[in-house]
Symmetry: D2
Subunit: 293 residues, 4 copies
Amino acid sequence: MKEAIFKGIIAYPITPFDVNEKVDISLFKTLVERLVQSGANGIAPLGSTGVLPYLSDEEKEAVTEAAMQQVSGRVPVLAGVSCLTTERTVYHAKFAEKAGANAVMILPMSYWKLSDDEIFRHYNTVAKAISIPIMAYNNPATGGLDMSPVLLKRLLQIPNVTMIKESTGDVQRMHSLRKELGEEVAFYNGSNPLALAAFAAGAKGWCTAAPNLIPGLNNKLFEAVANNNLKEAQDVFYKQLGLLQFMVGKGLPRVIKAGLNIQGVESGYLRSPLAVLGDEETAQLKQILATLN
Amino acid sequence: MKEAIFKGIIAYPITPFDVNEKVDISLFKTLVERLVQSGANGIAPLGSTGVLPYLSDEEKEAVTEAAMQQVSGRVPVLAGVSCLTTERTVYHAKFAEKAGANAVMILPMSYWKLSDDEIFRHYNTVAKAISIPIMAYNNPATGGLDMSPVLLKRLLQIPNVTMIKESTGDVQRMHSLRKELGEEVAFYNGSNPLALAAFAAGAKGWCTAAPNLIPGLNNKLFEAVANNNLKEAQDVFYKQLGLLQFMVGKGLPRVIKAGLNIQGVESGYLRSPLAVLGDEETAQLKQILATLN
Amino acid sequence: MKEAIFKGIIAYPITPFDVNEKVDISLFKTLVERLVQSGANGIAPLGSTGVLPYLSDEEKEAVTEAAMQQVSGRVPVLAGVSCLTTERTVYHAKFAEKAGANAVMILPMSYWKLSDDEIFRHYNTVAKAISIPIMAYNNPATGGLDMSPVLLKRLLQIPNVTMIKESTGDVQRMHSLRKELGEEVAFYNGSNPLALAAFAAGAKGWCTAAPNLIPGLNNKLFEAVANNNLKEAQDVFYKQLGLLQFMVGKGLPRVIKAGLNIQGVESGYLRSPLAVLGDEETAQLKQILATLN
Amino acid sequence: MKEAIFKGIIAYPITPFDVNEKVDISLFKTLVERLVQSGANGIAPLGSTGVLPYLSDEEKEAVTEAAMQQVSGRVPVLAGVSCLTTERTVYHAKFAEKAGANAVMILPMSYWKLSDDEIFRHYNTVAKAISIPIMAYNNPATGGLDMSPVLLKRLLQIPNVTMIKESTGDVQRMHSLRKELGEEVAFYNGSNPLALAAFAAGAKGWCTAAPNLIPGLNNKLFEAVANNNLKEAQDVFYKQLGLLQFMVGKGLPRVIKAGLNIQGVESGYLRSPLAVLGDEETAQLKQILATLN
C-alpha cells in the first residue's frame, strides 16, 4: 500500500489580489493562518480556488513560498503545479519540492484534448523530475480532460503518484476507483456537494475551500465519519449542503471572497475576467451563512 | 409528514415468458414467492424489471392479480401502472387498487417530451381516481423524462402522492430532494450502484431487482445502515457492487434471467426484441456471482 | 442502387381527436386531403406527428386505412408501424402492406436500451414478414435509441430496408451516412431546422409536418435545391426557419394543432397527457405565422 | 453593416518546434509562405492550430511578428491573442495591432466558467484598448465556454467586435446567429466538417488548417459556393470530408504536422504533452491523403 500523507480536511486558500490585481502575499499569509488555526489537516495552495492558471510563473513561486513559510510544518502542504505544457509543470514541481512542499497536485490541462498516452507521459516526466509524491487530480469541469479509472490505475504504477483526487461530482466514479484499484487506494474527494457520499465510499480526505467559511462544520463531518456515526454525518452534512452547492454553482474564488467579506474578513480583489458576485447573489450567500451560525 | 408504506428492500420480480413469448403466470408466482421468502420488505410487480411497457393490458392485469394472490399480505405490494396515455394509466391504477395493491408506482413516460404542467395533470388525474398512495418515479434513462426536484415537490402537494423513487443515478439529486422537501420526505433509491450513497443520503428504501440473485447481501446493507454502522455498510456494499454495476450495464431483465439460470432457477424466456445475454456476458456474470458465494 | 420511392416533401398529418379524446377519422381524412392538395410528394400517417405510440391497435388500423382511402394513389404513402415489441411491429407492418401502403417507417423504440444485435433482429424479423420497403428511422429524442451510421449500414443489408430517415438534428450524421454508405444511399431528413443543411448534404427528401401550415415555403425550398440554386434555397429557408424552430421546441402535434386553429382550420383535440399550447405560446405562434403570409 | 475584412478561406499555420521544443521561427515563415502561395484569402497565426496557449509571451510576440513580415500585406492577417486573464489579452492585442495585424481573434478561455457579464467585460476591455477589429470566437471544445447567440449579439454592440467565428460543430447555431443577428452579420465557420453546411447557411468564410494539406480542394469549395453551384459544392465537399473528419478527430496540430511529413514538407516537432500521431493513425492519414491526389 502506498502511503497517504493527507487525510481529513485539506483546505484550499484563495489567492487574494490588491486593487491593481497584483497578488497580495501578505493577505494570502493571513488567510492561510486562519485555515491552519481552524483545524485543517492539510493546506493546498494554488488549487482551483487559488486560481493557479491565472498567475504568472513568478506569482506561483511567491505563493508557494509564502504558504510554506506560514504553515511552517504544522500540517502537510500540497502545492498545485498544473500547467498546460510538460516543461512548465516540471519547472513548478521542482520549485515546490525545493520550497519544501510535502506533495504536489497535478491536473492534466486541456486545450487540445490529450490521449491517455500523452497524459501518462506528462505525469511520468514530472514524476521522474521530483522525489515527493504526486496527487493526480481529475476535474473535467475545470481542466477539460476526464481521466477514466483505467487511466488512473495506470498512473498509480508510477512510483511517486500515490494519491487521486476525484472531482467529477459523480460518486459512482469513486466506487469504480475503489473497485478497480483496491481497498488501499488513497482517493480524495474534490466535489464539495459529494462530501458525505465520498466519505461513505471510502475517501481518505476532502479537498475543499469551505474551511475558509465554515471550518467547524467541515471538521465535524470528518469526525462523524471517523467515529463510524452515519446518522451524525448525515445530519452535519445536510446543515452545510446549501453552502456547498452555492460554492460550486457560483465558483469557488468568487464565493469564498464574498463570504469572507460577509464574515468581516479582508479578502482583497479578484483578477479579471473573474468578477465579484452580484448584489443578489451576495444577499443569497449572506442568508445561507446566517443559517449556519 | 406523509406516511411511507415501504422501507428497506423493495424487490422487483421479472415477468417471465414461455417459449412462445407469452407471459408465464405460474413461473411468475414461483419467482415472487422466492423474493418474499428471501426477506424482501416489499414486492413491486410490473416495474422496469418486469418489462411493464412490453405487456398488453390483459397481461398487466394478470400479473397484478397473480402478485397479490402470491404475496397474500405478507409484505406490502407496489404495483407498476405507468402508461403513455393518462386514460390507460387511470385504468390500470384503478385495477391495481381493486386487486388490493398497497400503492401504485407511476413513471411519466415520454414519446413527446411533457411539460411540467402536463406531468402534473397526468399525476393529478390518476390520483383523483384512486384512494391508495402513489410513488412518483423519476427515471430519465427508461422513461425519457427527467423530473426536477421542483416538479417533484409540486407533485407531493397532491394528497395521495406520498413517495418518490429517484433513479437518475446522481446522488446529488437525492441531496437536493431532501434539502428542498425536508427531512420527512419519503424518497427511495432506484439506482442499484447508488445503494450505499442513497442510504447515506437518507433514502427510506432501495427498489431493486438484485434480491432475485443476492437477497442476503441486499438485506445486510439495509441492516448495517439501520444499525448506524457505516463501516459495515461500506464493506457489504463493495462486495455486491460488481453485480449491481453489471445489472445496470446490461439491463435488468436480461441479467436477472441469466443469473437465475446460472443459479439453477427456472426463469423462462424474454420477449423480443429483448434478447438473452451473449456467451461472453454470461461467462462474466457467472464469474461475478461465483465471487459472492 | 436501391430504389427510393420517396423524394421531396413527405408530409406528416396529425391524428386529431374529438372532445372525448377518441380518434376523429373523418377530420383526419380532411387534413390528409389538404396535404395532398397542397403539393406534398408523399403522405406519412402515424409518424411522431401522428402520435402513433399513443394509439391502440384498432386506432392505428383505422388511421392507416383512412389514409389509404383518402390519398387513393395520388402520391405514395409511408405508414408508421413502430411498436415496442417485435410481435406488434410485425402485426402492424403486415396490416399496412395489406392496406396498400407503399412503404413502412420503423423507429426502434426503447424502454430498455437495445443492443445493435437486438435492433438488427427486430428489423430483420419485420422485413421478412412483408414485401414492401422499410424506411429505418433514427430519432433518439423520441425513440430513445441512437443508431450509428455503422448500424444503419448493417440494416441496409436487409433487402427491403431501402431508406433511412435521420432525425438527430446533427447534419454531421448525414455526412457520415453518405460517406459510409455511398452516394446512392437514400437518406431523408426528419429534423425540420436542418432542412437546408440536409438537402445540401444530399438528402433525397424532407419528412416534415410543416406542410400542414406552410406548404408553399416547404415546396419552394425543395425546388430551389432541385434547381441547384443555393442562394434561393438559403433565402427560402431563412424565411421559414422561425416556424421550424418553434415546431421542434414546443412539439409537433401541439404546434400543428394550434397553427391550424390560427389558420381557421378545424384540428380537433389532443390526447392527454399532451395538452394544447398555452396562451403565450399561441400568441408567439400567431406572430410567427403572420410574418409568413 | 459592419465591415468584414475576411472572406473565403482563412488559413491557420501550425507553430513548429525544433527538437528541443523551442519555437522554430524560420520554419514557421516557410509554412506561412506555402499558405499564401496556395491561394488562402487570409492568414491566422496563433489559432488553436498554432497552439497559442502553449506558448510563452515572448514566443507569441515572435510568431506574430514573423507572420506579419512573411505575409507582407499580400492577404489580411488575423492574429490570435486569447489569454486566460484580461490583462494578458489586452497586452497581446495591443502588440498585434502595433505589429500590423488586420484584426485579432479572441476566444474567451475558461478555467473557471465565466458569466455572460464577465465575458462581455473581457471583450469590452480589450476592444477599448485597440483600434483594429475583433473576431469573437466560440469554441467550447477547446476554450471551455459556450457563448450563446444572445451573448454574441451583445458582443457585436461593441464597436470593433465585427466578426464571429463559430466552432461548436452544430450548424443550427449558425442558423440561429443569422436569424438573431440579421443577414448582414459576418460569421465564419471554424468547424471543418461543417464547411459545406456553414457556407449553405451563409458563412462569409471558413477558418481552417486544411490548406496546409489540401488548399486546392478548400478553394474549390468556396468557389462553388460563390458561383451558386450547390451540386459542385456538394461534390467537392464530400471529396475532402474524410480528411476534415480525421483532422478534427485526432487534433489539428498533430494531423497537420503528420500530413506535411507525408507530403515531404518539413514540419518540425510538437511541444509536450502533445505528441505525434502513432503509426496506425499515420497510416490512416497516408491513405486518406493518397485518395485526394
